[in-house]
Structures are given as structure tokens and as C-alpha cells.
């Protein structure tokens, strides 16, 4: 005895339109119970649709590109004697969620408040009431607030209140973060890098990234995705500057902090910023105005065993080179010991990233947003420079300026760098 049965789209939650991505059956195929017959996709998830019966496909009613919804006829199946249809297809739908995990976790209350629980789900979650304590350090009103926003408070690791108490603001920030993460990984349409199994190629080892590295990574990705960056290369003649610096250091007592070239670069940079206020600025969040700063704080990228940190030297325009040298030495030491406070790393106007101690001829640093520009420095070397009559050996310092092109135009960038260069080549200009 045979029987004609139907495979239909099961209850997949409140989704009106589901795209058919792939159809894996054709008339005449023999399908087994729970064998995948088609792949469906919503904007949130893709799912393999299992057959609710076993038998021979009589007719297929969908094709790739169709839009289907709950109850749409997928196929009719000729079922042989003994073939059983299963009454609860929902329980076998394997849903592969593609959205970031954080977003999914952020919606439990909404799901339980709106979706129709099937009897199967219900029997698993229903129980005579009892009070199970939760671990999160949040007061009842904050827990209520979190539920209203669909946030699982236990996913918020650390609150900003006393002793880590989770406050309403922490819940808001959690939502903001979840939304931002959603935008950068999904919303902007940027595909993520697929996971690769390296084992066929040889042995591997998992090394956890340090916290600094992970945070820096997030920040750099955000800048990379949000800012149109341009890098401009320049060279400054620092022969005279170096001669002066060596003289100065020669006069120093043993144990006194020596003046490095970086101090002059900081001074030369700030002098240029005073002349070009657009470089000492940040773009407003709506992108419609420029916030000009009346103070001159310079961040210095410091390489530490744990990763990159950027201590900030404040009010550089009011300090002399010796003061700056001492301050930077202290802050660099603190950075290497991991003792910098958040305050030490805030309020920068422009950053300098110097690789001069290591080498290099040029590189393209990434702006430390919301700053609008960063100055990269690599190793100075003696080069032949044509003075119109002859080649002279001059000590040339390569400089790389990366800027946010929404704020700085190309010509403006070039003029700014010409000024920095002049300031370095003839440090008497710093007196002006």
C-alpha cells in the first residue's frame, strides 16, 4: 500500500519570507526521514530543511530563489507501507545561526515573550516555580530594564558601579556594543574571514591574544573601516639638529636623561599644529563640524611586552625639551611595567609612532581616531643631497603622515609636512 504525503515548511518562528537557496531533491529521488531536502535562508539564519517523511519524491514545488513561509508546500512524496511521518518537524530543524552570538544572546526575553512555544519546548522549560538565584550583580530594577531591552544581564561581565555592580548605563552600553558589533561584522556587508583548519599543513599551537592586543585590534579595525586614510611621505634634513643634540648630550652629566631626536620631532610637530589648527582637531560624531582644540597633547606609541600603548604628553607647547624628555622616560617606563592609568593615555591631539630605533624607510601608520592625523618616523640615514652644485652627505629623516581625508586635504597635508620638515631642518624656527 502506498500513500501520498507532503513536505511543508515547518514553524520557524515569526519569519514572513524565507529564501530558498538550494533544492537538493528532484522527482524520483528516494529520501530518508530527516534527510535534508532544501536549504532555506532568512536574514538571520540559514537552515537545512529535513524531510518529515521517507519515500520517493513525486513532485518538487519549489526552486532556488523562491520565497516561502510556514506551511509552503515543498514536495509531495510517495510513501511506502510502514513509512511514518513525524508529527513534530520543528524539533528536527537544524538552525545555523549566522548573526554574531552576542546578538542572539541579547534577545532571550523577546523570544520567550513573543514566540509560540511548541509543546515540545514547553515541556522542557515549564516547571513548578522555584526561585533560582542568578549570579549577576544587578539590582531588581536593572534586571527589569535589561529584560525590557532583551539583554541577558548575566552576559554583562563587569558593571561600572561600586564593586562591579551592573547599572542601567552598563545595560545600555551592552546594547550599543552589540549593535556596533552587528554593524561592523554584518551590517556593512563585510564578509568575515572563514575559519581554516590548519592541521593538514602541520602542527599548530593556540596563543591567547593579550587584552591590550584585542582592544587595540578592535580599535584599529574600527578606524580602518570608518576613516578614509591617506599617507604622505616626506624627508627632513636633520644634520644640524643632530649636531646640536649631540652637543647638548655631551654636556650632560652621567646618569642624566639624554635628549633623543623624538623630543625635537614632538616640538616641530606641535609648532606645525599651531600653524595648521585643522591638525589639532576632531570631527564631530555626526561628521558635520570640526572640534578645534586649544591644547597640545601628543601621544607617543610605545611598544611593550603586552602590546602597543599610547601614553600622552600633555600641554607640550608649554614644556621645554628637557622636561619632555624626563616625562616621556617616566611614562615609557610605566608603560613597559603595565602601570599606565587610563588617564595617562587619554586626551591626545596627534600621535607619533617612531620606528627609528629599529629601522625602516617608510610605513603607513593608522590614525588614532578621533585624532585626525598621525606622524610615522623611521630610521634616519646619511644620503647624498644635491645642493645645485654638488652632492653633500646629509642626515635625512623619513617621515610619514597619515591623515583623515574627511578633515585634511592633500595640499594641506603637504604644506603641513613642509612646515614640520622646515622646523626640523632649522630648529631655530621653533623659537619663532
Amino acid at each position: 500500500m502506498t500513500n501520498l504525503l507532503e513536505i511543508r515548511v515547518p514553524d520557524v518562528g515569526n519569519v514572513a519570507e524565507i529564501d530558498v537557496v538550494e533544492v537538493l531533491i528532484q522527482p524520483g529521488d528516494i529520501v530518508a526521514l530527516e534527510q535534508t531536502v532544501a536549504t532555506l535562508e532568512t536574514d538571520k539564519a540559514s537552515m537545512d530543511l529535513p524531510s518529515s517523511v521517507s519515500g520517493t519524491i513525486q513532485q518538487v514545488h519549489i526552486k532556488p530563489g523562491d520565497k516561502v513561509s510556514e506551511g509552503t508546500l515543498i514536495a509531495t512524496v510517495l510513501v511506502n507501507e510502514g513509512g511514518m511521518s513525524i508529527p513534530e518537524p520543528i524539533s528536527t530543524v537544524a538552525i545555523v545561526v549566522e548573526t554574531p552570538a552576542i546578538q542572539q544572546e541579547a534577545k532571550p526575553a523577546e523570544v520567550s515573550a513573543q514566540s509560540e512555544p511548541t509543546p515540545k519546548q514547553a515541556s522542557e522549560t515549564l516547571q513548578p516555580s522555584d526561585s533560582k538565584a542568578i549570579k549577576a550583580h544587578a539590582s531588581p530594577s536593572v534586571r527589569l530594564f535589561a529584560r525590557e531591552l532583551g539583554v541577558n544581564v548575566s552576559k554583562i561581565n563587569m558593571g561600572s558601579g561600586r564593586k562591579g555592580r551592573i547599572l542601567k548605563d552598563d545595560v545600555k552600553n551592552f546594547v550599543k556594543q552589540a549593535l556596533t558589533d552587528g554593524i561592523t561584522t554584518k551590517g556593512a556587508g563585510i564578509p568575515s574571514i572563514p575559519a581554516v583548519d590548519f592541521s593538514p599543513f602541520g602542527d599548530t599551537e593556540i596563543l591567547k591574544l593579550s587584552k591590550i592586543k584585542r582592544l587595540t585590534g578592535q580599535n584599529l579595525t574600527r578606524v580602518w573601516l570608518n576613516l578614509p586614510l591617506v599617507t604622505y611621505h616626506e624627508e627632513a634634513d636633520i644634520t644640524e639638529m643632530e649636531a646640536f643634540r649631540n652637543t647638548l648630550n655631551g654636556e650632560k652629566e652621567k646618569g642624566e636623561i639624554k635628549i633623543t631626536g623624538l623630543m625635537f620631532i614632538i616640538k616641530a610637530l606641535v609648532a606645525a599644529m599651531q600653524q595648521f589648527p585643522n591638525f589639532n582637531a576632531s570631527l564631530s560624531a555626526d561628521g558635520e563640524s570640526l572640534i578645534l582644540k586649544k591644547y597640545f597633547n601628543i601621544g607617543i606609541a610605545v611598544d611593550t611586552p603586552n602590546g602597543l600603548v599610547v601614553p600622552v604628553l600633555r600641554n607640550v607647547n608649554n614644556k621645554n625639551i628637557s622636561e619632555l624628555a624626563i616625562e616621556l622616560a617616566e611614562k615609557s617606563e610605566k608603560a613597559r611595567l603595565g602601570k599606565l592609568l587610563p588617564n595617562d593615555m587619554q586626551g591626545g591631539c596627534m600621535t607619533i609612532s617612531s620606528l627609528g630605533g629599529i629601522g625602516g624607510t617608510a610605513f603607513t601608520p593608522i590614525v588614532n581616531a578621533p585624532e585626525v592625523a598621525i606622524l610615522g618616523v623611521t630610521r634616519a640615514k646619511i644620503q647624498p643631497v644635491w645642493n645645485g652644485k654638488e652632492f653633500l652627505p646629509r642626515l635625512m629623516l623619513p617621515l610619514d603622515l597619515t591623515y583623515d581625508h574627511r578633515v585634511i586635504d592633500g595640499a594641506e597635508g603637504a604644506r603641513f609636512m613642509a612646515t614640520v620638515k622646515q622646523n626640523l631642518s632649522d630648529i631655530r624656527r621653533l623659537l619663532l
Partner: protein, 471 residues
């Protein structure tokens, strides 16, 4: 056939504290609500035959005891004359005044109140047997708050008026000479307190090895010591095998380590727990899952397996306490109005209004040991509390349990005068995530019983000066 078909956006089945709270909250959120109550007055067990009348009688008992016990401190009263008719009338006047208050709240909120026994006939209809015949109510959403009833033991002669349940005991129709209380739980012990004060000779029989089974032993001990002197017998690990109704009294047969084989009593109160009413409301016709015991299964939003039907209070599980039901009732009402409410209270406090009172909340020591949870414990003896001594009492105890690493409050138990009032501070501290340091740095007024909670916290932080604790 019945013609009267009424429509309700939300129907609430049962007008106890959980039910009326749910009805009022739903009405306040704009729902058109029908409230079904089988008795002519609202308030359920709690107001009519539970919490409230028992507290009135307990207050009378407390006055009798305090007057008597103060003789040794220099104030002597004559032996009290007890007019039980007057006490009963006073008790009833309290209940009535609250009944009237509730009736007023029903009117003010424009909730439709229907008196009669309601049962589901489908997933969208309830039939109510009213005095004017059967009324059918069609509803969009329902909240079941049909409560519980005292557990009856089948072999006992329940028709005999001398065999009481808690409702009978609260009627205060007579003061039996010899009263046996079957069940040494909260209800049994509260009624023992009342009838002892009124002059009955009390015996208690309890199946387990302590009164108030489940409660930490150190909290029960002060009460056990006191009632051991007051009551005739407390038979632990003892079962009642039969009760035989005789002309001269109820002959109770016992089986236990210290009990006689049988004894004659003028009345027996059976207080061995309560049974949920889940199997009495036609739940099967609505497709609602009810377990064998009669509990309706719900999720954290109080939702049953039927999406638009909710259940709250005694009928969804232990502990069967009015304050739990009220909280759940509000959650259910808010969910019917589309809010994302959820029952996520960290603890439901328990109180035994005995003398001394016992109250506890959060983690108990029993539970911590069972589940292998590590804790720091501090127990402040009220013998060192000036306020307690001024009340002529020194047996009290305030105990707190804190997380070992962080000092975060995990649980608290108090035994002593007004423990039921004192426990609220601990509940708030727990919900707010306070630790021992927070509590000890909070100024408690002196001299109060409440400051013993602060002292217990100081014992954890090591800052206590009211005791000397050797390091």
C-alpha cells in the same frame, strides 16, 4: 444551556492575594478584566482563613504571654479572662474591613467580579456556576490563581467536628482542653501558640526529626527549647497511624520512638501541608499541563504550555506563600499586557509567626551543605543585644551566610521577637547584591533588634566590638 456569555480580555480565576493582584495590575495596564471568585468575599485563604486571622489570634496570644511573663520583673496582672466570642468578633472585624477595602478596589478599577466556581470548558472559555446559573466567559487571556487546600489524610474521620484543619482552628469556636497538632510545620506551630495561650494543653506530632523541617536547626532550637517547656508533648519522628472518633474524645494511635501507643484528645488539628487545586479547574479541557500532584507547570513568565494562559501562586509550586503569589500575579498581568516581565526575584522569604518568630531568606545552611556551596557564617546571639534583653528575651539569633571570596550576602536567618519584620532588610540586601562590608558600614539605629543584622555582618568583616571573638 446558558445564554449569558461575557467577554474578557483577561480572566482571572481565583480572588486570593495572587489573583486580585493580577486582576488589579492587568486592569491598571488597560485590560478589561473579569475576576472569578467562588466565595462571596475576596482575599482567599490568606485574608479569610490564613495569614491575617492567624496573626490577629497570635497577637492576642502574645499579649497573654507577655503579661504573664512580666510577673517576675515586677508587674503582676490577674489571670486573664478570655472571651473567645469577643476575640473572634475582633478577628472577623479585621478580615471584614480588609474584604471591604478589596471590594472597593474592584469597583474603582472597574474589574467585573463574578462569584461562583469557575472551570475551563475550552482554551478560550470558562464556565462559572453562579447563584443565577452558569455564566460562560470567553477570554483572550487567562490567569489561573486557584490556590490550594489543606491536605487531608484519607483514613482520618474528617466528618467529626473535633478533627480540624487550619480553617477550623481559625474559627475559634471552642478552646479544647487537650489539643493534638499533627504536623510540626509553620501552620501547626502558629496554631499551637494561639491555643496554648488560650489555655489548651498542646501536643505536637511530627514525622521528621525536627519541627519546621527543612529550616536550619540552629534557628529552630530556641523555639524548640521554649515550647518544650510550654507544651505537654512534642513527639518527633512519630506518625499518626489512626484516629478513632469516640464519645469521650478522639483516640489517636501513634507510632514513634517516644510516643505512647495511643492517647485521647478533645480536638486534633491536622496541619500536614497543602495541596494545589490544579486538578479541580477543568484544566484538561483547556489543554493545560497539570502534574500528578495538581501543580500547573509554568515558565518564568508564569505562562503555561497554552500560550495565552498563565498560572500563579500556590497552584504553580512551593513555597505556598501569599507574597510569592502576589509577585507572580503581577508578572503574569504584565505579560498579558505585552511587557517583558519575568519572575526573577532572588529569594522568597519565609516566616514562622511563632514565639519566638523564625524568618529566613536566600541560601540556608542545610541547602549550602547539600549543594556543596562554600560560605562564611556569622551568628550574633541576642543575649548580647540590649534591646532584646529589655524585652525580657535572650534566646534570639541573627545568622548570615556570605560568599567566601567576596563576602557577598548569600542567605540570612533570624530567630527572635519580630524576626519576620527584621528579615526584610536581608532580602533587600540580597537583591541589591550587598556584601558583609556594605551591611556593616550601614548605620543601624541603637538600640534595636535590627542592629543584630549589622552585628552579624561585622562578625564577618571582623569589625565587631559588641562581642569579643578570639582570632
Amino acid at each position: 444551556m446558558n445564554e449569558a456569555v461575557l467577554h474578557a480580555e483577561v480572566v482571572v480565576l481565583g480572588g486570593g492575594p495572587g489573583g486580585y493582584s493580577a486582576a488589579f495590575r492587568a486592569a491598571d495596564l488597560g485590560k478589561q478584566v473579569v475576576l472569578i471568585e467562588r466565595f462571596p468575599v475576596l482575599g482567599g485563604v490568606c485574608l479569610n482563613v490564613g495569614c491575617i486571622p492567624s496573626k490577629a489570634l497570635l497577637h492576642a496570644a502574645q499579649i497573654i504571654h507577655e503579661a504573664d511573663e512580666f510577673a517576675e520583673h515586677g508587674v503582676t496582672f490577674d489571670k486573664p479572662t478570655i472571651n473567645i466570642d469577643k476575640i473572634r468578633a475582633w478577628k472577623e472585624s479585621i478580615t471584614k474591613s480588609l474584604n471591604t477595602g478589596l471590594a472597593g478596589l474592584v469597583k474603582q478599577r472597574k474589574v467585573t467580579l463574578i462569584q461562583g466556581l469557575g472551570k475551563f470548558t475550552s482554551a478560550n472559555t470558562v464556565d462559572v456556576e453562579t447563584a443565577e446559573g452558569v455564566k460562560t466567559i470567553r477570554f483572550d487571556q487567562a490567569i489561573i490563581a486557584a490556590g490550594s487546600r489543606p491536605t487531608k489524610i484519607p483514613v482520618f474521620p474528617h466528618d467529626d467536628p473535633r478533627l480540624w484543619d487550619s480553617t477550623d482552628a481559625l474559627q475559634l469556636t471552642e478552646i479544647p482542653k487537650k489539643l493534638l497538632i499533627v504536623g510540626g510545620g509553620i501552620i501547626g506551630l502558629e496554631m499551637a501558640t494561639v491555643y496554648h495561650a488560650m489555655g489548651s494543653e498542646i501536643s505536637i506530632v511530627e514525622l521528621m526529626d525536627q519541627i519546621i523541617p527543612g529550616c536550619d536547626k540552629d534557628l529552630v532550637t530556641p523555639l524548640a527549647r521554649r515550647i518544650k517547656k510550654q507544651y505537654k508533648n512534642i513527639w518527633l519522628e512519630t506518625r499518626v497511624t489512626s484516629i478513632e472518633a469516640r464519645q469521650e474524645g478522639l483516640k489517636v494511635s501513634l507510632e514513634g520512638k517516644n510516643s505512647p501507643e495511643s492517647e485521647l484528645f478533645d480536638a486534633v488539628l491536622v496541619a500536614v501541608g497543602r495541596k494545589p487545586n490544579g486538578l479541580m479547574i477543568g484544566a484538561e479541557l483547556a489543554g493545560i499541563n497539570v502534574n500528578e500532584q495538581g501543580f500547573i507547570l509554568v515558565d518564568k513568565q508564569q505562562r503555561t504550555n497554552v500560550n495565552h494562559i498563565f498560572a500563579i501562586g500556590d497552584i504553580v509550586g512551593n513555597p505556598m506563600l501569599a507574597h510569592k503569589a502576589v509577585h507572580e500575579g503581577k508578572v503574569a498581568a504584565e505579560v498579558t499586557a505585552g511587557h517583558k516581565a519575568q519572575f526573577d526575584a532572588l529569594t522568597i522569604p519565609s516566616v514562622a509567626y511563632t514565639d519566638p518568630e523564625i524568618a529566613w531568606m536566600g541560601l540556608t545552611e542545610n541547602q549550602a551543605k547539600q549543594e556543596g556551596i562554600e560560605y562564611d557564617k556569622a551568628s550574633f546571639p541576642w543575649a548580647a543585644s540590649g534591646r532584646s534583653l529589655c524585652l525580657g528575651r535572650k534566646e534570639g539569633l541573627t545568622k548570615i551566610l556570605c560568599e567566601k571570596e567576596t563576602g557577598k550576602l548569600l542567605g540570612a536567618g533570624i530567630v527572635g521577637t519580630n524576626a519576620g519584620e527584621l528579615i526584610s532588610e536581608a532580602v533587600l540586601a540580597l537583591e541589591m547584591g550587598a556584601d558583609a562590608e556594605d551591611i556593616s558600614l550601614t548605620i543601624h539605629p541603637h538600640p534595636t533588634l535590627a542592629e543584630t543584622f549589622g552585628f552579624a555582618a561585622e562578625m564577618i568583616t571582623g569589625t565587631i566590638t559588641d562581642l569579643y571573638i578570639k582570632k
